[in-house]
């Protein structure tokens, strides 16, 4: 089931969480000689820049072998995918200045603004210039001045991304913090918490409350980032991870009544009962903002307001123009029940071939004209034969973060009561089985005892 060159790592967050920040041994030399980009780091860490160019964070793509209807020899990712959370990609929405809006204002926009290069060396570029363009400090500096990272026009009129390359930033190196990662991950999907809708603030997530951060769970080796099987996170560095590893076994509870479920129900189903963010967008209608620019109209909720949909998932993905989500069933012997945030997006389809079209956002941002955006994207991609018609796409996003305090994890009655969160019938249980699964006999004594203990 796993791809050929895929390793499964098991992170141990508990160990890592107790390590204290220590001074970076390169500090003195950097203070003395200043910071001149990656080559400064490479004096002591040779090969790191070249290594980084081969990762998803630089390429925004990788080969993908668990998703339907993809050429397994091509690379796929934010570089070239098209879906309706963000109806474009790095190619059609290459960083650029949008035309002036009615108030005469312009701004820069582009998907690849979330790329740790300088845009002159862009997504997937290679060679010496690319190596020296990497923004090592956006992930590694504890004193990064984020106001220095922005799109500007250089003296020749080309749009570039600037970086904080100050000695001050380079002298404060450490393991990436949540803030470093969130520099890009927080606003994925068009604004804070829009796509994933999870908060990584202390108090909102049990691990973070204990001081466990992104890279404690995502144990990065040689800049390869372990990831999971979210049906809409295709690109990967060849390393997969789940909740089960060195920290948690598949039977982590002292209470056997919970452990009996873990063969069929993913940990996330009980432990991540809510997420939030956008649940629907319409890219055919852009809304005018107070500043004269337009944004795709978006319905959204706060981080803890959206209950997931639960579905069987065997870690392979159905990918059609109208649906991107989990495949699996109760009976295939491989699936577990996982929680998903369901998202529905409206955009243009090509009537000629039924495919979802992409949009260059520059025209609609300036004047709301979404069809001009489609025309511009079609031109960039060399698509001549098309007739845009609006239509809806449904996408499932895995709920894999924001583990709730254990007293809020789903307990027996959350699922086995008649108004439980699972739709047993839709999940493939027979009428007779549903009767049994919703019979209080399953949990009555247990919950009564718990209630007595707590009273």
């Amino acid at each position: 089931m796993w791809g050929k060159n895929v390793v499964i790592v098991m992170g141990c967050i508990l160990l890592a969480a107790t390590v204290n920040a220590k001074e970076h041994p390169g500090k003195e030399q950097i203070l003395k000689n200043g910071y001149h980009g990656p080559k400064t780091c490479e004096e002591c860490h040779p090969g790191k820049a070249k290594e980084f160019l081969g990762t998803v964070h630089w390429k925004h793509a990788s080969k993908v072998d668990h998703v339907d209807n993809l050429d397994p020899n091509e690379e796929h990712g934010m570089k070239n995918r098209i879906y309706t959370m963000c109806n474009g990609n790095d190619i059609v929405n290459n960083l650029k200045e949008v035309p002036p809006n009615a108030l005469g204002k312009t701004k820069f926009t582009g998907c690849n603004s979330c790329h740790p290069g300088d845009h002159a060396s862009d997504v997937g570029s290679t060679g010496a210039a690319a190596e020296q363009a990497i923004d090592c400090l956006i992930c590694h500096s504890l004193k990064y001045d984020f106001s220095k990272r922005k799109a500007v026009k250089d003296s020749s009129g080309k749009v570039v991304m600037t970086q904080d390359r100050s000695t001050e930033a380079a002298a404060n190196i450490g393991r990436p913090t949540i803030k470093n990662c969130m520099a890009c991950h927080e606003a994925a999907g068009g604004g804070a918490m829009i796509k994933r809708g999870f908060s990584m603030a202390k108090g909102a997530e049990v691990h973070v409350t204990k001081g466990i951060i992104c890279v404690d769970c995502h144990q990065v080796k040689n800049h390869k980032f372990p990831t999971g099987r979210d049906p809409n996170n295709w690109a990967h560095d060849g390393i997969y991870m789940t909740c089960v590893g060195e920290c948690h076994t598949i039977k982590p509870h002292t209470d056997a009544d919970y452990n009996r479920h873990t063969d069929k129900i993913a940990c996330q189903s009980c432990h991540i009962p809510k997420t939030g963010g956008a649940f629907s967008k319409d890219f055919t209608k852009w809304e005018k903002q107070g500043n004269g620019f337009y944004e795709p109209s978006t319905l959204k909720r706060e981080v803890n307001e959206t209950a997931p949909v639960y579905a069987w998932y065997n870690l392979t993905v159905s990918n059609t123009p109208k649906f991107i989500g989990p495949k699996g069933s109760r009976t295939d012997g491989k699936s577990k029940i996982y929680p998903f945030k369901v998202f529905q997006g409206k955009a243009y389809y090509n009537k000629k071939d039924g495919k979802l079209m992409s949009m260059d956002f520059a025209p609609p941002i300036a004047n709301g004209d979404s069809l001009a955006g489609v025309a511009s994207a079609a031109k960039i991609l060399g698509i001549k034969d098309y007739e845009p018609v609006p239509g809806w796409q449904t996408i499932y996003f895995g709920s894999n973060h924001q583990v709730t305090p254990k007293n809020k994890a789903l307990s027996c009655a959350n699922c086995h009561a008649l108004n439980g969160v699972l739709n047993f019938k839709e999940l493939g249980y027979s009428v007779k089985e549903v009767e049994r699964l919703t019979n209080p006999e399953l949990y009555f004594e247990k919950l009564l005892k718990l209630q007595q203990e707590n009273e």
Binding site: N87, C111, F146, S147, G190, L418
Partner: protein, 107 residues
């Protein structure tokens, strides 16, 4: 059965929501998009006074920000003077307290 239960829940929630509105009635909520003309962090770092220029009316509005995440963004300059932001704030007795403070963003 399922329907009846959920209706009961909805009713309960509605009742709760209207109560919440009543208790808050003395403060009025405003929304605006504006450009930051000044950020002043309090000495203890636990609050900031932000002066905004309303994008539409060009009027100057001062809001107090005290949520940790946003303060942190001021500190490491993820939000700086000149940035355009969207805010929701409560206004009571001439004091505006921010409830939401985010940079505007496309997709």
């Amino acid at each position: 059965m399922k329907k009846i239960l959920s209706i009961v829940i909805v009713l309960a929630l509605t009742a709760f929501a209207s109560l919440a509105v009543v208790t808050n009635a003395s403060a009025e909520e405003f929304k605006m998009t504006g450009t930051i003309s000044k950020i002043e962090l309090a000495a203890d770092g636990k609050a900031a006074t932000v002066v905004l220029k309303d994008t539409k009316s060009e009027a100057s509005v001062t809001v107090i920000v005290s949520d940790e995440l946003t303060l942190d963004k001021f500190k490491d300059k993820r939000i700086v003077e000149g940035d355009e932001i969207r805010t929701k704030y409560d206004s009571e007795g001439g004091k505006n307290t921010s409830k939401m403070f985010k940079k505007t963003a496309g997709c």
